[in-house]
């Protein structure tokens, strides 16, 4: 029972509890808060693995910008608690077993493959920011420019959608 294994179990349990809470909560703001907990737990897992830059970016961008957008929209639209209709109960009956079956299938396929039984989480595998940035700006510079163009398109789309139409 190394400290890393204990930390992994704690963070993994936290993320699973957060995901379950996302499903079981009735009010969307509580679901949003549970999703934030999942993201922070995942950032902790990235730190445990040694991917420190990705952990920081996850918290800054996902937890600090995207989820803030979700929380803003929930507040502005005054979303109330959910109502469960007949169709959602049917979806629950059919969907939950299928979802569990899908998860079980994927997990069993992974656990059976002995090829990827390498260890992760040692401090020697620390991912330096310098190497990641060299890769982004040298090998992957074309996708990087494309994502900046994608963000520009998204900004224009959001502005067009939010513009008030003059009747």
């Amino acid at each position: 029972m190394t400290p890393q294994l204990i930390l992994f179990i704690v963070l993994a349990a936290l993320s699973v509890v957060g995901a379950l809470s996302l499903i079981l909560q009735k009010h969307p703001i509580h679901s949003a808060l549970s999703l934030i907990v999942v993201m922070v737990a995942l950032a902790g897992l990235y730190l445990l693995m040694g991917a420190e830059f990705v952990a920081a970016v996850q918290i800054i961008v996902y937890g600090g910008a995207i989820m803030v957008l979700f929380v803003f929209v929930i507040m502005l639209l005054n979303a109330g608690a959910e109502e469960y209709t007949n169709f959602s109960k049917l979806a629950g009956f059919a969907g939950v077993p299928l979802g569990i079956a899908l998860t079980g299938f994927i997990a069993a396929a992974i656990a059976r493959s002995a090829g990827t039984a390498q260890v992760s989480g040692s401090a020697a595998v620390l991912a330096p920011t310098r190497t990641i940035s060299e890769m982004i700006f040298k090998d992957f510079v074309y996708p990087f420019e494309l994502t900046s163009f994608l963000i520009l398109v998204a900004i224009m789309g959001a502005i067009v959608l939010a513009a008030h139409k003059e009747e």
Binding site: Q4, L5, F8, A12, S15, V16, A19, L22, I23, P28, L35, V38, M39, L42, L45, Y46, M49, V54, V61, Y62, I66, L69, F70, V73, I74, L76, L77, E82, E83, T85, F87, S88, G95, V96, G99, I100, L102, T103, G104, I106, A107, I110, T116, Q118, V119, S120, G121, A127, I132, M135, I136, P143, L150, I151, V153, A154, G157, A158, L161, A162
Partner: protein, 100 residues
């Protein structure tokens, strides 16, 4: 030392929970959040494999996934605001006509 398999199984479990949330929830915003949960699960698998193999390509791809998720969230939430304004409800079962 935690084996890579543990992280990937956790990623599969989170993905399954995201699928279940997508199917069960009736609020549009909650369904959108379940999509973000699925994307996060996939990110975890990417980073786990990247650290397991010692190459950093997985982490660079995770950065791109995060950027695309941000763009998608911005536009998707804009559309959701318009739908809520037009239909006065956030229940996804009320958005069942092709013409609003």
């Amino acid at each position: 030392m935690v084996p890579v398999n543990y992280y990937v199984i956790l990623s599969a479990v989170l993905f399954g929970l995201g699928v279940i949330a997508f199917v069960v929830k009736r609020n549009i915003i909650s369904i959108f959040m379940s999509i973000e949960l699925m994307l996060n699960a996939v990110n975890l698998a990417f980073v786990a494999f990247s650290q397991g193999m010692g190459k950093l390509d997985g982490q660079v791809f995770v950065l791109f996934v995060i950027v695309v998720a941000a763009a998608e969230a911005a536009v998707g939430l804009g559309i959701i605001i318009l739908i809520a304004r037009n239909r006065q409800s956030l229940n996804v079962e009320r958005v069942d006509l092709l013409k609003l």
